[in-house]
Symmetry: C2
Subunit: 290 residues, 2 copies
DNA sequence: GTTCCGCATGAATCGATAG
DNA sequence: ACTATCGATTCATGCGGAA
């Protein structure tokens, strides 16, 4: 169990070979999108993305518990005026690899990149694709229930003032009708659309996704003490989420800069616990190496 | 032009053969999702959905203008615990047919049907997939601008020194800003996430979308006087949207019940204009038949 | 303490221009 | 012709210092 709560340096396709079968409860990751993080991972071209991803996914599948879940945060980029097909091809290939495509959650990003183009609007959503090894998997729906009191307020707040103005006409009718269904209940279940802003503020680190994103899935698919893996952990957001929720994490990261950032962030939480980074530049072939 | 502003009875795969090439400005449709409208279209099984759809899409492509757009509202159903792959396979096949997959908008349904399952939450979103014949197509972005968010009122009240000039990003993202550009602006461009409630009233049509949905795309991709086609027009929502916006429509529908509903709805708007329904049960082979 | 408000930042994309 | 680089465009958030 020495790989727990560590950031393992290296490429997850190799590093994860050292982990035992059926040992991970949840894989949550946001891999480098094609050609998007060029300095790291050598900038995978959209056309070779699926080929690049598949052997790594094979390791994911080996080490995930049969009751575990794999959440993939990804979005296709525009290539030559079209949405590239690497994401949907990846879904098909992962199914061929044996994964079940259980669900696709939607992350509505309230603050996307600005920009204006003649043929498209700004992209305000990303995919959170759920894969499983078997049809029966752990899911703790109560853990992400929303107080009904908060629900209406939260829902209105999450959509932001602008969104409400933008479809004023609809808010009254449809919304009010639905609310009556929930009278007398304290908590309601959420749905498959998540409204969260990206983190882009003044800090020394910049995370691609907010900590609330992995937190939500960690609560939904794991219990305290379970193990969460992020094979492309970047600045460590998934590790922060796991520790805050009393889960263990395993992180893998290639870029030394990202490793440094991740360790720094994790250390703020894990004061007094053993050092969480393995040595840099080491190739891990067996558990004993870690 | 006798096919304008009519509901043409029959299967669009056949009916549309009577329409001339390059004659439609926008195709907006919500086809029967696999097995979802069993009484109509004989309930297409998920596995044969792509095969069923492709010859119809070939007609769509023939009659769409080179500058036109095809918006497909669809969502994969759950089959045997998994999201079925017919939608993503359809995207790949349509590209093979020559379509460009320009964009995927997301419809966030604010009041989806209640329900609870052990392995998934309620489905609150659908795809609105944009296809084009060529990279250059008509898009009238100003027609769908929305009020600027509240942030601007406070933000732009008092400009700092850096706000008055172009401020280059420090991190080399290539992204700079000139905040003073925004002074006096009260409308901004929207993004690719649409927040709209589903229709709640009791219509026979099972896949009911709000009239705001086609309206948004009609405003975005057509001008007054242009022609909007819905090859699976159902209860006529797309026709209502087109007429309200002074566009012409062409509707095709197989179910007599739906045709009756659509004609009734359209008639409420089109008082005093020629009857909009062609005879039922007639096979249309040429324009003269219509 | 709480609220206010300035401000840097972000998985972007297109078209023109240069090699 | 085909690829690489560069400038232009633009929205919403939450930190952090000030009031």
């Amino acid at each position: 169990m020495d790989y727990l709560n560590k950031i393992l340096p290296g490429d997850c396709g190799e590093v994860l070979k050292a982990l035992p079968d059926d040992s991970i409860d949840l894989i949550f990751t946001s891999p480098p999108y094609a050609d998007q993080r060029k300095n790291t991972y050598g900038g995978i071209s959209p056309d070779s993305y699926v080929t690049w991803f598949l052997p790594r996914a094979e390791q994911f599948r080996r080490i995930l518990k049969p009751t575990g879940t794999f959440i993939l945060n990804i979005k296709e980029r525009v290539v030559d005026g079209e949405r590239h097909t690497y994401v949907i091809e990846l879904i098909l290939e992962l199914r061929r690899q044996g994964w079940l495509w259980t669900e696709e959650f939607m992350w509505h990003k309230k603050n996307s990149h600005p920009g204006k183009w003649p043929n498209r609007f700004r992209d305000n959503w990303e995919r959170l694709i759920q894969f499983n090894k078997s049809k029966v998997f752990n899911m703790y729906q109560e853990a992400v229930m929303v107080p009904v009191g908060d629900w209406a307020r939260d829902r209105l707040a999450k959509l932001s003032q602008t969104d409400l103005v933008r479809d004023e006409s609809r808010v009254g009718s449809g919304f009010g009708k639905n609310v009556s269904n929930w009278v007398g209940r304290d908590m309601v279940y959420p749905n498959n659309v998540l409204h969260m802003a990206t983190e882009c503020y003044n800090r020394n680190h910049s995370a691609a996704f907010p900590v609330d994103l992995p937190s939500w899935f960690i609560k939904l698919f794991t219990l305290p003490g379970d193990v969460v893996l992020d094979p492309f952990i970047g600045s460590g957001t998934t590790a922060v989420a796991a520790l805050q929720l009393s889960r263990s994490f395993v992180g893998v990261e290639l870029s030394p800069e990202n490793i440094a950032t991740a360790v720094a962030r994790v250390s703020e939480i894990q004061i007094g616990l053993p050092l969480m980074i393995a040595d840099e530049g080491v190739e891990y072939q067996t558990l004993a190496d870690i």
